[in-house]
């Protein structure tokens, strides 16, 4: 797609950085959210015998 464009390496590198950084942050965010949910499930079982505190 970029073969016909001048300065293609700079444009490509910019968009690659854009997607890698924002994609990486999204992955980290979702992983943290999943770990939080997992922690909360364990916590609920320990503290409330299964009642979901996140929704309460």
């Amino acid at each position: 797609m970029l073969e016909g464009l001048s300065h293609a390496p700079f444009i490509t590198a910019s968009y690659v950085i854009f997607f890698i950084v924002l994609g990486g942050l999204a992955v980290v965010t979702f992983r943290r959210a999943r770990e939080t949910s997992k922690y909360l499930r364990q916590h609920d079982e320990t503290v409330h015998g299964g009642h979901d505190v996140a929704q309460s």
Partner: protein, 252 residues
């Protein structure tokens, strides 16, 4: 205003609202990103001076606007937390910081990649570039403060003060191109007399800005929900262990 803040301050209510809003933000992101990329590469012409490298602008400028916008949001949230003890303030500021840092890094990296073919240099220690680099360090410093304190309240206070002090740098970023001679061009969007960019380039720019804003909103809300749920669970556990005469729970 204070009634609205008070109504919104209920974490359970906030989580319900955030749960409802977040999918719409992801949908907005998907649509506007597809449209924005199409417009950026196929629906807009090359610049008469810069050629195709102007297409870097469609990610550089939205990232730059969000870098300062998110920091402004963090400062406002920190002020709400420090001054009015608004409970969601520090959570919002903490959740926004990684997003702002990411956009700041993108601004610096794409600025260097745009500067090399246009100016013949990757970097120049001029007012605009240096102040944005300082902004990046402010973001890193803010995040480091949260990691440095085990007591979340003390961390929120210290990080909030840094966020407020850092507002000075937002002013420097905004006016750096007017105060000093610089390689960086003056403001071309938010200026008297309207934008100086051709309308054919304003559309991809606006669309990519919507995409980047939707992304930022979705990630910040997701971070806030995780933080609130974790704090609630930890507070309950801490209260239980204290009642049982137990040990001190590490937070963070």
């Amino acid at each position: 205003m204070s009634a609205f803040m008070h109504w919104f301050a209920n974490p359970a209510r906030f989580v319900r609202i955030a749960d409802a809003v977040t999918p719409w933000l992801w949908l907005t992101l998907a649509i506007s990103l597809c449209a924005g990329l199409y417009l950026a590469f196929f629906g807009s012409p090359p610049d008469y001076q810069q050629g195709d490298s102007v297409r870097i602008m469609y990610i550089h400028v939205p990232s730059a606007i969000l870098t300062t916008g998110i920091y402004g949001f963090m400062a406002a949230a920190s002020a709400a937390s420090l001054v009015w003890r608004y409970p969601l303030g520090s959570v919002a500021a903490k959740s926004a910081a990684p997003v702002g840092a990411a956009f700041c890094f993108i601004t610096l990296a794409t600025g260097a990649l745009w500067g090399r073919p246009m100016w013949g240099t990757w970097w120049e220690w001029d007012g605009r570039m240096t102040s944005v680099l300082v902004q990046f360090f402010l973001y890193l410093g803010y995040l480091a403060i949260w990691q440095a304190f085990s007591d979340q309240r003390r961390a929120a206070n210290a990080a909030g003060i840094l966020a407020l002090v850092g507002v000075i740098n937002l002013v420097i970023i905004r006016f750096s191109v007017e105060w000093w001679n610089t390689l960086h061009q003056p403001a071309s969007l938010l200026r008297r007399g309207g934008p100086s960019i051709d309308v054919s380039m304003q559309w991809p720019l606006a669309t990519m800005f919507i995409a980047a804003s939707a992304y930022a909103g979705a990630i910040i809300l997701t971070n806030m929900k995780s933080e609130l749920r974790m704090r609630r669970a930890q507070a309950q556990l801490q209260s239980m262990t204290q009642n049982a005469g137990g040990y001190r729970l590490e937070t963070g």
